[in-house]
Amino acid sequence: MAAICALGIDVGSTTVKIVAIDAQGALVWYHLEAAEPRLEDQTARLIELARRETACADATLVATGCGRGLVGQAQRKVTEITCHARGVFREFSHGGTLVDIGGQDSKVIVITPAGDVLDFVMSDKCAAGTGRFLENTARRLGVSLEEMGKLALSVSQEASISSTCTVFAETEVISLIAHGVALEAILRGLHRSLVRRVAAMVRSVGLTPPLMLSGGVAWNLAVRAMLAEELSTPVVLPSYPQLMGAYGAALIARDIPS
């Protein structure tokens, strides 16, 4: 393993991600696990794990994500907006519009050709349009998260989900099942509902191509396909969409004089 230079930790609402990078900024080690209720203990454990596994006791550390305030060991705490933009810019070396769909919020970030954040919007006080929206309904329908995107794309029929609220959408899904609507059509309708919300956020800041996608939901094939269709532009993905926040944090940590 190359000599570790910096660590980044992204304490999200659903998962905690920690990465280590070398002096050139290449991602050389990472770990991801579900967020636990006692985040403070969990982040301390993960930092120790990172330091042990990568033998980098003195590497600088930057924390991001909604739980960044709980990481006492971090030299700096930086918001997800800046970190995601930094991580994605490093990977693609160009600007554009980044959509990050996380566990409990979504963000749209406009990145300049020089890699700076030009503008952003975040979803507010509502889990619709986030990973939690899909998680909830996947559980209700007995479908795994990995499968749901594929199933949604396997049909052309689409059930209309009118509710924009995660909780009410679940009630609507139960009603559709009771009316005998095919599972795949319901799933397609759910994805459409989520994607439309995200697309509206993109339009509110103005789409600057290319459209990039990060966050755990980026792995969902239907979200990718439908977002591209909704905004009439291809969607590009970084190699590790879920790690972009932590990776960006590590890149910022690398710039901190030790």
């Binding site: 918001t79 997800e80 954040v117 503008d119």
Partner: protein, 441 residues
Amino acid sequence: MNLASAFRYHWNVHLIGPTVLRAVRWREELFSAAPKGWLMEHLAPPLRINPRMHELVSRHYLRGRYAHLRDKVAWVTSGAPSEFLRALGFYVLYPENHAALCGTARRAVELCGYAEDNGYSRDLCSYARTDLGAFLAGVTPVGRLPKPDLLMACTNICQTVLCWYRVLAHYLNIPLIVIDTPFIYEHAEEHALRYVQRQLEAAVPVAERVAGRALDERRLRRITHLSKEACELWMQVLERARHRPAPLSVFDQFLQMAPVVELRGETATVDFYAALLRELDERIAHGVGAVRHEKARLLWDNLPVWYRMRSLAELLGKRGAALVASTYTNAWAELAEWIDPENPFESAARVYLHPILNRGTGDKLKTMQAMIEKYELDGVILHSDRSCKPYSIGQIDQREQLFHACHVPALLLDADHNDERSFSEEQVSTRLEAFLEMLGV
């Protein structure tokens, strides 16, 4: 007023009360330069004039406590033309200011709860709920509010006030004067000016009947003159923020604006702002900024978040971001030049037709653009206030226009001016921090 009432009023309002309040001010001036835990490293100490402002506002509420012994009482909306009521000797109370005071005292949620228990929806303005709750439950942090003999609602700030004051009139069975101000896009047409002036003139006999005396026009001219003077001084206070570093922040402005709103037309208010100006000039002479290491200068649009003033000031101040101008505090200054003491009704019609909330969203955008230039601002925070729909409507487009046409970054921040239940700490701080990172501070 009989002799016993006169004695009681004089004793409490002119002797004991002011003596106690003066002693409180002296104590504050001597012993508490800054509240506990104040971030001295990042923020200048609170303005020295704060205790004097507290004294001024407390004296107003003290007068209200005993007003029934001497004066007739009028409750009016914040944008109402109140000068002629003062000239008629009314004690004038602003329920919106009272609600804001409840907000800063962190009592608004409790009071909103009383209104909600009585069937008022949470979708109503939190000022209306705070005051209706205080009224229905008889609870207020200021001790006691005087019951009104007259109500006056002016629709130049919103339509909610119309329903709110109709509810009060229904409960109290007292006269309600409504001043209807047609919405204007930039400048009022002649017919709109005449329409409002006629309403004002028609309101006088109603108020005279309640007051039990005739309007003294000389007194009205004097009060209008004092109003103009206070508003002009307030403009000078705000303009001191053009200096770098700005000697006062928008948070200071939110606190110091109370007299220009609720005590316009009084000599004490004019003296107060003259003293505030002197203190600001002292700060400028010594290079003292409200934010010690001012790196970015921002505009605040909409009402304050009354219950989070200090934490927001700290969050911004720590990073060197100074809120130096606000469309809200500017609203009590920008129309000062139109006030004409020699033509009190004619000029009041023009002034009270033109508050920012009664003008089109395009015109509001122009106001913001002018302020950005005047105060040399780096960004704008648009408080999307759940309670104040007229102020918040159009902010999405304004944000886009500011960004694309003026190249000024703007942030939309969801909150509520008085109801803490609509404030999400984490979401607000993440957005603000990300915005500041974007600005490079």
